[in-house]
Protein backbone atom coordinates (compact mmCIF):
# COMPACT_ATOMS: atom_id res chain seq x y z
CA UNK A 1 0.00 0.00 0.00
CA UNK A 2 1.37 3.45 -0.94
CA UNK A 3 1.42 6.31 1.53
CA UNK A 4 -1.78 8.29 1.83
CA UNK A 5 -1.47 11.51 -0.15
CA UNK A 6 -1.76 13.43 3.12
CA UNK A 7 1.50 11.86 4.33
CA UNK A 8 3.51 12.81 1.25
CA UNK A 9 5.95 15.73 1.39
CA UNK A 10 6.77 17.66 -1.79
CA UNK A 11 10.06 15.78 -1.93
CA UNK A 12 8.25 12.45 -2.13
CA UNK A 13 6.52 13.37 -5.40
CA UNK A 14 7.72 11.91 -8.67
CA UNK A 15 8.99 14.34 -11.32
CA UNK A 16 5.95 15.96 -12.92
CA UNK A 17 3.67 14.04 -10.51
CA UNK A 18 3.91 11.01 -12.76
CA UNK A 19 2.03 7.97 -11.49
CA UNK A 20 4.58 5.22 -12.04
CA UNK A 21 2.61 2.30 -10.63
CA UNK A 22 -0.10 1.22 -13.08
CA UNK A 23 -3.56 0.61 -11.66
CA UNK A 24 -2.86 2.11 -8.25
CA UNK A 25 -6.17 4.00 -8.35
CA UNK A 26 -7.52 0.75 -6.81
CA UNK A 27 -5.77 1.77 -3.60
CA UNK A 28 -7.87 4.89 -3.30
CA UNK A 29 -10.60 4.48 -0.68
CA UNK A 30 -13.59 6.15 -2.31
CA UNK A 31 -15.74 4.57 0.40
CA UNK A 32 -14.79 7.60 2.53
CA UNK A 33 -17.15 9.72 0.45
CA UNK A 34 -20.23 7.74 1.46
CA UNK A 35 -23.02 9.14 3.63
CA UNK A 36 -25.56 6.36 2.94
CA UNK A 37 -24.95 2.68 2.24
CA UNK A 38 -27.00 0.08 0.37
CA UNK A 39 -28.57 -2.71 2.41
CA UNK A 40 -30.12 -5.74 0.64
CA UNK A 41 -33.29 -7.47 1.79
CA UNK A 42 -32.70 -11.11 0.81
CA UNK A 43 -36.43 -11.86 1.19
CA UNK A 44 -37.17 -9.61 -1.82
CA UNK A 45 -33.95 -10.15 -3.81
CA UNK A 46 -34.38 -12.32 -6.93
CA UNK A 47 -30.60 -12.44 -7.60
CA UNK A 48 -31.04 -10.85 -11.03
CA UNK A 49 -27.78 -8.85 -10.80
CA UNK A 50 -29.17 -5.52 -12.06
CA UNK A 51 -27.47 -3.77 -9.12
CA UNK A 52 -24.17 -5.37 -10.10
CA UNK A 53 -24.57 -4.27 -13.71
CA UNK A 54 -25.49 -0.66 -12.92
CA UNK A 55 -22.91 0.02 -10.20
CA UNK A 56 -20.65 2.66 -11.83
CA UNK A 57 -17.70 1.82 -9.58
CA UNK A 58 -17.84 -2.00 -9.80
CA UNK A 59 -18.29 -1.91 -6.03
CA UNK A 60 -20.92 -4.68 -5.89
CA UNK A 61 -19.82 -8.28 -5.52
CA UNK A 62 -21.69 -11.54 -5.91
CA UNK A 63 -21.70 -13.72 -2.79
CA UNK A 64 -21.28 -17.50 -2.78
CA UNK A 65 -25.03 -18.10 -2.50
CA UNK A 66 -25.79 -15.86 -5.49
CA UNK A 67 -26.90 -12.73 -3.62
CA UNK A 68 -25.13 -9.36 -3.89
CA UNK A 69 -23.35 -7.04 -1.47
CA UNK A 70 -21.39 -3.83 -1.76
CA UNK A 71 -17.64 -3.47 -1.27
CA UNK A 72 -17.62 -0.68 1.28
CA UNK A 73 -13.96 0.18 0.52
CA UNK A 74 -15.15 1.65 -2.80
CA UNK A 75 -18.94 2.16 -2.49
CA UNK A 76 -19.63 5.92 -2.56
CA UNK A 77 -23.26 5.46 -1.59
CA UNK A 78 -24.56 6.93 -4.83
CA UNK A 79 -27.78 4.91 -4.64
CA UNK A 80 -27.94 3.88 -8.28
CA UNK A 81 -28.28 0.21 -7.27
CA UNK A 82 -31.26 1.06 -5.07
CA UNK A 83 -32.82 3.17 -7.83
CA UNK A 84 -32.44 0.43 -10.46
CA UNK A 85 -33.36 -2.60 -8.33
CA UNK A 86 -36.42 -4.27 -9.90
CA UNK A 87 -37.97 -5.59 -6.69
CA UNK A 88 -37.00 -2.63 -4.50
CA UNK A 89 -34.90 -4.80 -2.21
CA UNK A 90 -32.07 -2.28 -1.70
CA UNK A 91 -32.54 0.43 0.94
CA UNK A 92 -30.06 3.27 1.36
CA UNK A 93 -29.32 3.48 5.08
CA UNK A 94 -27.71 6.52 6.74
CA UNK A 95 -24.11 5.95 7.83
CA UNK A 96 -23.70 6.63 11.52
CA UNK A 97 -21.26 9.31 12.62
Amino acid sequence: MVKSELELSWKDLEVGCVVSEPGNASQYRTGDWRSVRPVWDSEKCIRCGVCYIFCPDMAIKKTEDGYFESDLYYCKGCGICSQECITGCITMVEEEE
Binding site: W10, K11, G16, V18, V19, P22
Partner: protein, 392 residues
Protein backbone atom coordinates in the same frame (compact mmCIF):
# COMPACT_ATOMS: atom_id res chain seq x y z
CA UNK B 1 34.13 26.38 -35.46
CA UNK B 2 31.55 26.78 -38.16
CA UNK B 3 31.06 29.18 -40.95
CA UNK B 4 30.07 32.85 -40.62
CA UNK B 5 27.14 33.64 -42.90
CA UNK B 6 24.88 36.59 -43.65
CA UNK B 7 21.39 35.28 -42.99
CA UNK B 8 18.00 36.37 -41.72
CA UNK B 9 17.87 35.67 -38.00
CA UNK B 10 14.64 33.62 -38.32
CA UNK B 11 16.28 31.34 -40.87
CA UNK B 12 19.38 31.01 -38.73
CA UNK B 13 17.23 30.07 -35.74
CA UNK B 14 15.45 27.44 -37.85
CA UNK B 15 18.82 26.10 -39.02
CA UNK B 16 19.90 25.87 -35.39
CA UNK B 17 16.76 23.86 -34.59
CA UNK B 18 17.67 21.58 -37.49
CA UNK B 19 21.23 21.21 -36.23
CA UNK B 20 19.85 20.33 -32.81
CA UNK B 21 18.28 17.37 -34.64
CA UNK B 22 14.77 17.99 -33.41
CA UNK B 23 12.27 15.10 -33.73
CA UNK B 24 8.94 16.93 -33.74
CA UNK B 25 7.95 20.45 -34.77
CA UNK B 26 4.31 21.37 -34.17
CA UNK B 27 3.40 24.96 -34.91
CA UNK B 28 0.86 27.30 -36.46
CA UNK B 29 2.05 30.29 -38.47
CA UNK B 30 1.73 33.78 -36.99
CA UNK B 31 3.55 37.04 -37.71
CA UNK B 32 6.41 37.65 -36.90
CA UNK B 33 7.26 34.02 -36.11
CA UNK B 34 6.34 32.79 -39.60
CA UNK B 35 9.75 32.52 -41.25
CA UNK B 36 11.11 30.22 -38.56
CA UNK B 37 8.35 27.66 -38.92
CA UNK B 38 8.13 28.10 -42.69
CA UNK B 39 11.81 27.30 -43.02
CA UNK B 40 11.58 24.25 -40.77
CA UNK B 41 8.66 23.03 -42.86
CA UNK B 42 10.84 23.37 -45.98
CA UNK B 43 13.74 21.57 -44.35
CA UNK B 44 11.49 18.63 -43.47
CA UNK B 45 9.80 18.60 -46.89
CA UNK B 46 13.17 18.69 -48.67
CA UNK B 47 14.42 15.77 -46.61
CA UNK B 48 17.16 17.84 -44.98
CA UNK B 49 15.67 17.34 -41.53
CA UNK B 50 14.37 13.96 -40.43
CA UNK B 51 11.53 15.12 -38.20
CA UNK B 52 7.75 15.12 -37.98
CA UNK B 53 6.41 18.50 -38.99
CA UNK B 54 2.85 18.71 -37.70
CA UNK B 55 0.87 21.59 -39.24
CA UNK B 56 -1.75 21.86 -36.51
CA UNK B 57 -5.02 23.80 -36.74
CA UNK B 58 -4.25 26.17 -33.86
CA UNK B 59 -1.64 27.05 -31.27
CA UNK B 60 -3.73 25.31 -28.62
CA UNK B 61 -3.18 22.14 -30.61
CA UNK B 62 0.47 23.00 -31.25
CA UNK B 63 1.31 22.99 -27.57
CA UNK B 64 -0.89 19.95 -26.98
CA UNK B 65 1.03 18.03 -29.66
CA UNK B 66 4.29 19.21 -28.12
CA UNK B 67 3.26 17.85 -24.72
CA UNK B 68 2.43 14.49 -26.26
CA UNK B 69 5.59 14.20 -28.30
CA UNK B 70 7.82 15.35 -25.46
CA UNK B 71 6.13 12.82 -23.16
CA UNK B 72 7.14 9.94 -25.43
CA UNK B 73 10.72 11.19 -25.49
CA UNK B 74 10.90 13.12 -28.76
CA UNK B 75 12.98 16.29 -28.93
CA UNK B 76 10.23 18.85 -29.45
CA UNK B 77 10.11 22.40 -30.77
CA UNK B 78 7.44 25.01 -31.33
CA UNK B 79 7.38 28.68 -32.03
CA UNK B 80 4.75 31.39 -31.71
CA UNK B 81 3.99 35.06 -31.07
CA UNK B 82 1.42 37.21 -29.30
CA UNK B 83 -2.14 36.02 -30.06
CA UNK B 84 -0.78 32.57 -30.82
CA UNK B 85 0.68 32.38 -27.33
CA UNK B 86 -2.62 33.65 -25.95
CA UNK B 87 -4.51 30.86 -27.70
CA UNK B 88 -1.93 28.35 -26.47
CA UNK B 89 -2.19 29.66 -22.92
CA UNK B 90 -4.02 26.75 -21.30
CA UNK B 91 -1.37 24.21 -22.29
CA UNK B 92 1.54 26.61 -21.68
CA UNK B 93 0.89 26.20 -17.96
CA UNK B 94 0.52 22.43 -18.18
CA UNK B 95 3.86 21.69 -19.90
CA UNK B 96 6.08 22.77 -16.96
CA UNK B 97 3.82 21.18 -14.36
CA UNK B 98 4.29 17.89 -16.25
CA UNK B 99 8.02 18.69 -16.51
CA UNK B 100 8.07 18.33 -20.30
CA UNK B 101 11.26 19.81 -21.80
CA UNK B 102 9.74 21.52 -24.84
CA UNK B 103 11.66 24.37 -26.48
CA UNK B 104 9.68 27.33 -27.75
CA UNK B 105 10.92 30.42 -29.52
CA UNK B 106 8.67 33.34 -28.78
CA UNK B 107 9.01 35.99 -31.49
CA UNK B 108 7.86 38.77 -29.21
CA UNK B 109 4.91 40.81 -30.42
CA UNK B 110 2.33 42.99 -28.70
CA UNK B 111 -0.95 41.45 -27.59
CA UNK B 112 -4.09 42.96 -29.10
CA UNK B 113 -5.81 45.32 -28.90
CA UNK B 114 -5.62 47.52 -30.78
CA UNK B 115 -4.59 44.84 -33.20
CA UNK B 116 -0.86 45.07 -33.78
CA UNK B 117 1.77 42.82 -35.28
CA UNK B 118 4.72 44.78 -33.91
CA UNK B 119 7.27 44.11 -31.25
CA UNK B 120 7.09 44.54 -27.49
CA UNK B 121 7.05 42.18 -24.50
CA UNK B 122 3.36 42.04 -23.58
CA UNK B 123 3.05 38.49 -24.91
CA UNK B 124 5.76 36.94 -22.73
CA UNK B 125 4.69 38.91 -19.67
CA UNK B 126 1.23 37.34 -19.94
CA UNK B 127 2.75 33.92 -19.16
CA UNK B 128 5.40 35.16 -16.75
CA UNK B 129 4.11 32.90 -14.00
CA UNK B 130 3.64 29.77 -16.10
CA UNK B 131 6.76 28.03 -14.78
CA UNK B 132 8.83 27.96 -17.99
CA UNK B 133 12.52 28.82 -17.97
CA UNK B 134 12.58 32.18 -19.77
CA UNK B 135 15.54 33.83 -21.45
CA UNK B 136 15.94 36.91 -23.64
CA UNK B 137 18.22 37.23 -26.65
CA UNK B 138 19.75 40.43 -27.91
CA UNK B 139 20.95 39.75 -31.47
CA UNK B 140 21.09 37.10 -34.18
CA UNK B 141 24.18 35.29 -32.95
CA UNK B 142 22.74 35.25 -29.50
CA UNK B 143 19.51 33.72 -30.85
CA UNK B 144 21.35 31.02 -32.79
CA UNK B 145 23.47 30.07 -29.78
CA UNK B 146 20.49 29.97 -27.46
CA UNK B 147 18.57 27.45 -29.52
CA UNK B 148 21.27 24.93 -28.60
CA UNK B 149 21.35 26.23 -25.05
CA UNK B 150 17.58 25.88 -24.67
CA UNK B 151 17.51 22.21 -25.67
CA UNK B 152 20.49 21.43 -23.49
CA UNK B 153 19.02 23.05 -20.37
CA UNK B 154 15.43 21.88 -20.89
CA UNK B 155 16.35 18.24 -21.41
CA UNK B 156 18.91 17.98 -18.62
CA UNK B 157 17.40 15.30 -16.34
CA UNK B 158 18.04 17.50 -13.30
CA UNK B 159 15.89 20.21 -14.93
CA UNK B 160 13.30 18.62 -17.25
CA UNK B 161 11.42 21.87 -17.78
CA UNK B 162 10.33 23.71 -20.93
CA UNK B 163 12.30 26.75 -22.09
CA UNK B 164 11.05 29.90 -23.80
CA UNK B 165 13.66 31.72 -25.84
CA UNK B 166 12.46 35.27 -26.39
CA UNK B 167 13.50 36.94 -29.60
CA UNK B 168 12.12 40.36 -30.51
CA UNK B 169 9.73 40.29 -33.45
CA UNK B 170 10.96 42.03 -36.64
CA UNK B 171 13.83 43.77 -34.84
CA UNK B 172 15.49 40.36 -34.68
CA UNK B 173 13.33 37.95 -36.66
CA UNK B 174 13.38 39.90 -39.91
CA UNK B 175 16.88 41.32 -40.05
CA UNK B 176 19.87 39.86 -41.81
CA UNK B 177 22.95 39.54 -39.62
CA UNK B 178 26.33 37.89 -39.86
CA UNK B 179 25.97 34.73 -37.80
CA UNK B 180 28.62 32.18 -36.96
CA UNK B 181 27.11 28.72 -37.34
CA UNK B 182 28.24 25.86 -35.15
CA UNK B 183 29.79 22.87 -36.87
CA UNK B 184 28.24 19.45 -36.33
CA UNK B 185 31.02 18.29 -34.04
CA UNK B 186 30.46 21.26 -31.72
CA UNK B 187 26.71 20.61 -31.60
CA UNK B 188 27.38 16.96 -30.80
CA UNK B 189 29.73 17.84 -27.98
CA UNK B 190 27.38 20.43 -26.51
CA UNK B 191 24.01 18.74 -26.86
CA UNK B 192 23.62 15.13 -25.67
CA UNK B 193 20.78 12.89 -26.89
CA UNK B 194 17.45 13.39 -25.18
CA UNK B 195 16.79 10.84 -22.43
CA UNK B 196 13.52 11.76 -20.75
CA UNK B 197 13.11 11.36 -16.99
CA UNK B 198 9.73 9.73 -17.60
CA UNK B 199 8.52 8.36 -20.89
CA UNK B 200 5.10 7.26 -22.10
CA UNK B 201 5.75 3.74 -23.35
CA UNK B 202 3.57 0.62 -23.35
CA UNK B 203 6.38 -1.53 -21.92
CA UNK B 204 6.48 0.55 -18.78
CA UNK B 205 3.09 2.20 -18.31
CA UNK B 206 2.92 5.48 -16.37
CA UNK B 207 0.20 8.09 -15.96
CA UNK B 208 1.09 11.69 -16.77
CA UNK B 209 -1.07 14.71 -16.05
CA UNK B 210 -3.22 13.05 -13.40
CA UNK B 211 -5.68 14.85 -11.18
CA UNK B 212 -4.22 16.59 -8.10
CA UNK B 213 -6.59 16.70 -5.15
CA UNK B 214 -6.36 19.50 -2.55
CA UNK B 215 -4.34 17.14 -0.35
CA UNK B 216 -1.47 17.05 -2.84
CA UNK B 217 -1.73 20.21 -4.97
CA UNK B 218 0.30 22.48 -2.67
CA UNK B 219 3.12 19.92 -2.55
CA UNK B 220 3.02 19.63 -6.35
CA UNK B 221 3.40 23.41 -6.70
CA UNK B 222 6.24 23.55 -4.17
CA UNK B 223 8.05 20.80 -6.11
CA UNK B 224 7.56 22.74 -9.35
CA UNK B 225 8.82 26.00 -7.83
CA UNK B 226 11.87 24.23 -6.47
CA UNK B 227 12.52 22.56 -9.83
CA UNK B 228 12.64 25.96 -11.53
CA UNK B 229 14.93 27.40 -8.84
CA UNK B 230 17.16 24.31 -9.05
CA UNK B 231 17.59 24.73 -12.81
CA UNK B 232 19.98 27.64 -12.27
CA UNK B 233 23.23 25.70 -11.76
CA UNK B 234 22.50 23.76 -14.95
CA UNK B 235 21.81 27.03 -16.77
CA UNK B 236 25.11 28.50 -15.57
CA UNK B 237 26.99 25.36 -16.57
CA UNK B 238 25.38 25.37 -20.02
CA UNK B 239 26.60 28.96 -20.57
CA UNK B 240 30.07 28.15 -19.25
CA UNK B 241 30.38 25.10 -21.50
CA UNK B 242 29.12 27.06 -24.50
CA UNK B 243 31.72 29.73 -23.84
CA UNK B 244 34.45 27.11 -23.66
CA UNK B 245 33.30 25.64 -26.98
CA UNK B 246 32.44 28.67 -29.11
CA UNK B 247 34.10 31.51 -27.22
CA UNK B 248 30.97 33.47 -26.35
CA UNK B 249 30.31 33.57 -22.61
CA UNK B 250 26.75 34.53 -21.72
CA UNK B 251 25.54 35.35 -18.22
CA UNK B 252 22.20 35.65 -16.42
CA UNK B 253 22.88 39.36 -15.88
CA UNK B 254 25.22 41.14 -18.26
CA UNK B 255 26.79 44.53 -17.70
CA UNK B 256 28.37 47.27 -19.78
CA UNK B 257 30.45 50.15 -18.40
CA UNK B 258 29.09 49.70 -14.88
CA UNK B 259 32.40 50.32 -13.13
CA UNK B 260 31.71 53.10 -10.65
CA UNK B 261 28.45 54.03 -12.40
CA UNK B 262 25.97 55.94 -10.27
CA UNK B 263 23.11 55.32 -12.68
CA UNK B 264 22.44 52.21 -14.72
CA UNK B 265 19.91 51.38 -17.40
CA UNK B 266 18.24 48.00 -17.12
CA UNK B 267 16.72 46.35 -20.18
CA UNK B 268 15.84 42.98 -21.69
CA UNK B 269 16.11 41.83 -25.29
CA UNK B 270 17.23 43.64 -28.41
CA UNK B 271 16.90 47.21 -27.09
CA UNK B 272 20.05 46.53 -25.09
CA UNK B 273 22.23 47.39 -28.09
CA UNK B 274 20.61 50.81 -28.52
CA UNK B 275 20.93 51.46 -24.80
CA UNK B 276 24.68 50.70 -25.10
CA UNK B 277 25.01 53.46 -27.69
CA UNK B 278 23.24 55.88 -25.34
CA UNK B 279 25.54 54.81 -22.50
CA UNK B 280 28.63 55.50 -24.62
CA UNK B 281 27.26 58.91 -25.58
CA UNK B 282 26.48 59.80 -21.96
CA UNK B 283 29.88 58.57 -20.79
CA UNK B 284 31.44 60.84 -23.41
CA UNK B 285 29.54 63.70 -21.81
CA UNK B 286 31.12 62.76 -18.49
CA UNK B 287 28.01 61.20 -16.97
CA UNK B 288 28.39 58.31 -14.56
CA UNK B 289 26.23 55.82 -16.46
CA UNK B 290 26.32 52.09 -17.11
CA UNK B 291 24.08 49.32 -18.33
CA UNK B 292 22.67 46.10 -16.94
CA UNK B 293 20.88 43.56 -19.11
CA UNK B 294 18.71 40.75 -17.82
CA UNK B 295 19.20 37.69 -19.97
CA UNK B 296 17.66 35.21 -17.54
CA UNK B 297 14.11 36.14 -16.53
CA UNK B 298 13.02 32.82 -14.96
CA UNK B 299 14.40 31.63 -12.65
CA UNK B 300 15.04 35.26 -11.67
CA UNK B 301 18.78 35.69 -11.01
CA UNK B 302 18.45 37.53 -7.67
CA UNK B 303 22.04 37.01 -6.56
CA UNK B 304 23.68 38.07 -9.84
CA UNK B 305 21.35 41.02 -10.21
CA UNK B 306 22.00 42.36 -6.70
CA UNK B 307 25.70 41.96 -7.28
CA UNK B 308 25.53 43.79 -10.62
CA UNK B 309 23.86 46.87 -9.12
CA UNK B 310 25.78 47.01 -5.84
CA UNK B 311 26.74 50.60 -5.11
CA UNK B 312 24.47 51.98 -7.85
CA UNK B 313 22.33 54.97 -6.79
CA UNK B 314 19.79 55.01 -9.57
CA UNK B 315 18.32 52.37 -11.87
CA UNK B 316 16.40 53.29 -15.01
CA UNK B 317 14.24 50.29 -15.82
CA UNK B 318 13.02 49.94 -19.38
CA UNK B 319 9.73 48.07 -19.64
CA UNK B 320 8.18 46.92 -22.89
CA UNK B 321 4.77 46.10 -21.42
CA UNK B 322 2.11 47.84 -19.33
CA UNK B 323 0.59 46.59 -16.10
CA UNK B 324 -2.69 48.47 -16.35
CA UNK B 325 -3.57 50.19 -13.11
CA UNK B 326 -0.63 48.53 -11.43
CA UNK B 327 2.72 49.47 -9.92
CA UNK B 328 4.52 50.17 -13.21
CA UNK B 329 5.98 47.79 -15.78
CA UNK B 330 6.43 44.13 -14.86
CA UNK B 331 10.23 44.32 -14.95
CA UNK B 332 10.39 47.37 -12.68
CA UNK B 333 8.02 45.71 -10.19
CA UNK B 334 10.33 42.74 -9.94
CA UNK B 335 13.45 44.91 -9.71
CA UNK B 336 11.94 46.92 -6.85
CA UNK B 337 10.96 43.71 -5.15
CA UNK B 338 14.41 42.14 -5.64
CA UNK B 339 16.07 45.14 -3.97
CA UNK B 340 13.51 45.89 -1.28
CA UNK B 341 15.46 44.41 1.61
CA UNK B 342 18.87 45.61 0.39
CA UNK B 343 20.79 48.27 2.26
CA UNK B 344 21.10 51.55 0.35
CA UNK B 345 18.42 50.55 -2.10
CA UNK B 346 18.81 52.56 -5.30
CA UNK B 347 16.05 54.81 -6.59
CA UNK B 348 14.19 53.18 -9.43
CA UNK B 349 12.63 55.05 -12.32
CA UNK B 350 10.54 53.14 -14.78
CA UNK B 351 9.99 54.02 -18.42
CA UNK B 352 7.49 52.10 -20.50
CA UNK B 353 8.54 52.47 -24.10
CA UNK B 354 8.84 50.80 -27.46
CA UNK B 355 5.27 49.57 -27.24
CA UNK B 356 4.08 47.67 -30.32
CA UNK B 357 7.03 48.57 -32.49
CA UNK B 358 7.42 52.27 -31.73
CA UNK B 359 11.05 53.15 -32.34
CA UNK B 360 13.17 54.06 -29.36
CA UNK B 361 16.48 55.61 -30.35
CA UNK B 362 19.66 56.28 -28.40
CA UNK B 363 18.51 59.92 -28.13
CA UNK B 364 15.35 58.72 -26.40
CA UNK B 365 17.38 56.84 -23.79
CA UNK B 366 19.49 59.94 -23.25
CA UNK B 367 16.27 61.91 -22.74
CA UNK B 368 15.14 59.32 -20.18
CA UNK B 369 18.44 59.73 -18.36
CA UNK B 370 18.02 63.50 -18.30
CA UNK B 371 14.45 63.24 -17.00
CA UNK B 372 15.70 60.85 -14.30
CA UNK B 373 18.43 63.34 -13.32
CA UNK B 374 15.81 66.09 -12.99
CA UNK B 375 13.62 63.86 -10.85
CA UNK B 376 16.62 63.03 -8.65
CA UNK B 377 17.33 66.73 -8.18
CA UNK B 378 13.69 67.32 -7.26
CA UNK B 379 13.10 69.48 -10.33
CA UNK B 380 10.41 67.16 -11.65
CA UNK B 381 7.99 65.12 -9.58
CA UNK B 382 9.18 61.56 -8.98
CA UNK B 383 6.71 59.21 -10.63
CA UNK B 384 6.21 55.45 -10.20
CA UNK B 385 6.30 54.97 -13.94
CA UNK B 386 6.36 57.03 -17.08
CA UNK B 387 4.88 56.06 -20.41
CA UNK B 388 7.68 57.51 -22.48
CA UNK B 389 6.93 59.59 -25.55
CA UNK B 390 3.17 59.53 -25.19
CA UNK B 391 1.54 62.56 -26.84
CA UNK B 392 -0.40 64.60 -24.28
Amino acid sequence: MGERVGIEVSLAAAEAVKMANVDVVAAYPITPQTHIVEHLSELVADGELDAEFIPVESEHSAMSVCCGSSAVGARTFTCTSSQGLALMNEIVFIAPSMRLPIVMILANRSLSGPLSIWNDHTDVMSIRDSGWIQIFTENGQDAFDHVMFSFRVAENPAVSLPVIMNMDGFVLTHVIEPIEFWDEETVKRYLPDFEPVNRLHPDNPVTMGAFGLPGIFTEAKKAQDQALINSKPVILKAWKDMGDLVGRYYKPVETYQVEGAETVFLSMGSVGETVSIAVEELRAQGKSVGQVKLRLWRPFPFEEFREAVRGVKQIIVIDRAITYGGPGGPVASEIRSALYLEENMPTITNFLCGLAGRDVTAEDYIAMFEKTEQMAKGKVRQEDYIIYGVRE
